[in-house]
């Protein structure tokens, strides 16, 4: 059942990745990055159990933390620089 969960998370990661490629707006990409980050958190947690070493949850914590910080960072610098820039790309 770890296998099923890990596989499902992997598929979800792939789909989120496609959204990150496709855009079309920058906010879609940020959202995709955020979803991707949460899915990585889940993947690592499940994989830790699958490999029988669940004491590596510290890493999961770092992923969750960095995911949050990078989303905040992207938002901040985007707002900071692009006040007058078009929302849509190109």
């Amino acid at each position: 059942m770890y296998t099923a969960a890990a596989f499902a998370v992997l598929v979800a990661m792939l789909l989120a990745l496609f959204r990150a490629f496709a855009g079309p707006t920058l906010y879609d990409r940020i959202l995709a990055v955020n979803v991707f980050g949460t899915k990585t958190v889940l993947l690592i947690a499940v994989v830790g159990f699958m490999m029988g070493r669940p004491d590596f949850l510290d890493i999961v914590m770092v992923y969750a933390l960095m995911n949050f910080i990078s989303v905040i960072g992207i938002l901040r610098f985007f707002e900071y620089t692009a006040k007058n820039v078009e929302v849509r790309e190109e």
Binding site: A8, V11, L31, V35, V41, V60, F78
Partner: protein, 111 residues
């Protein structure tokens, strides 16, 4: 008892996985940013909670369980916050939802 817990955790893991996929499909297929946001953030929180609780039942040492609870709390705190900030930023930037034709007309009439 052991058996029931196992079944519960099995169910939580599989259903959490299903929610992950359904949310990601929504993220990929929905027409505009706000609906995508909806699909992603709603399923994200629930799926994370379900999978982590499923793992919590399976964990053997209390240290692992404590860490799982910490991760869960952290995700429950940050994920909606990030979603909120994101939608607000998008609204401020003037991104508009895609509406069906009649609604679009009524919104424009209301302006």
């Amino acid at each position: 008892m052991e058996g029931i817990l196992n079944i519960v955790s099995w169910f939580l893991l599989v259903f959490g996985g299903f929610l992950c996929i359904s949310g990601a499909v929504g993220l990929l297929r929905f027409p505009d940013f706000f609906t995508r946001m909806h699909a992603a953030s709603v399923t994200d929180t629930l799926a994370t909670a379900m999978i982590l609780i499923g793992l919590f039942i399976q964990a053997e040492s209390w240290l692992v369980q404590v860490k799982l609870v910490m991760v869960l709390l952290f995700v429950l705190l940050t994920s909606p916050t990030a979603g909120h900030a994101l939608v607000m930023a998008a609204l401020h930037a003037g991104l508009e939802p895609v509406l069906p034709k009649q609604k679009q007309a009524s919104v424009e009439a209301g302006r």
